[in-house]
Symmetry: C2
Subunit: 154 residues, 2 copies
């Protein structure tokens, strides 16, 4: 096996590890957020992204990128949250194609209530992943990432 083959295998291994850790955390968060607050992980992610803008609006397209969702899924997710009164659609005046979304106060309340659950479960899931010899290295690397570097994901 040559150097090039090694690189391929390292990438594949890294991807398997990444997917495993992601699945572990995602499943844990999904169950906790769903049972305790009636929202899914993507819904939490979108609301958190909106709140992170601190009063700023976000377009559907940005939301789609922030949540790694397709356009259609984003449309329906926003519709769902709007029907529940957690956010509002705001037509943009200068570009009549664009639609801004904004958290309502009810949305912020729910987010505030859900955040402790989210953070606790995330903490717990990471610890559990770190207990697996296969996943521990990635979890360790994750802890080294600093929020300071780079731009927000959305």
């Amino acid at each position: 096996m040559g150097i090039a083959d090694d690189a391929v295998e390292i990438r594949a291994h890294g991807w398997r590890t990444l997917a495993a850790v992601h699945g572990l955390i995602d499943t844990a968060l999904e169950r906790a957020l769903q049972s305790e607050h009636g929202i899914s992980v993507v819904e939490y992610t979108v609301m958190d992204a909106l709140n992170r803008q601190d009063g700023w609006h976000m377009r559907m397209r940005q939301l789609a990128r922030a949540a790694a969702l397709s356009n259609s899924a984003t449309t329906r997710l926003v519709t769902r949250l709007e029907d529940r009164g957690l956010l509002t659609r705001i037509l943009c005046a200068d570009d009549r194609r664009g639609i801004y979304t904004e958290l309502t106060s009810a949305g912020m309340d729910l987010l505030t209530r859900a955040r402790p659950t989210h953070d606790a479960v995330l903490h717990q899931a990471l610890d559990e992943a770190a207990r697996s010899p296969e996943l521990a290295p990635l979890v360790g690397a994750l802890r080294g990432l600093t929020p300071a570097s780079g731009e927000p994901v959305g």
Copy 2:
């Protein structure tokens, strides 16, 4: 903001980054594998896991863990692949609850054809992720993981 709050924020940031990279790669792989070989990422993952056992059987439960799937999803995924002649169910004699699964030669062929696509797209997606300042650190950390340490994910 205290030290504890920093830890919470670092975890949340790491998780957002992880999810973003995962989504990027997963979407790219999904499109490529689906259009070029007619299989999904999970299907490829399962077949790859089976092949990795090198002639060994795997039980449904192991497959479920390896692919981060529920029991029901695993049942249907195996049924799908079996209907396409890519793998076979093998009843286990000593434990009549257990069901082993094994790749057929057709399954191995398809896997062999799909692997170059998978590896190339993975390479490309990682490079694209590395171009984002926000995601680059994690991609770099991923390259540092070595396949030698630890046990297989399943």
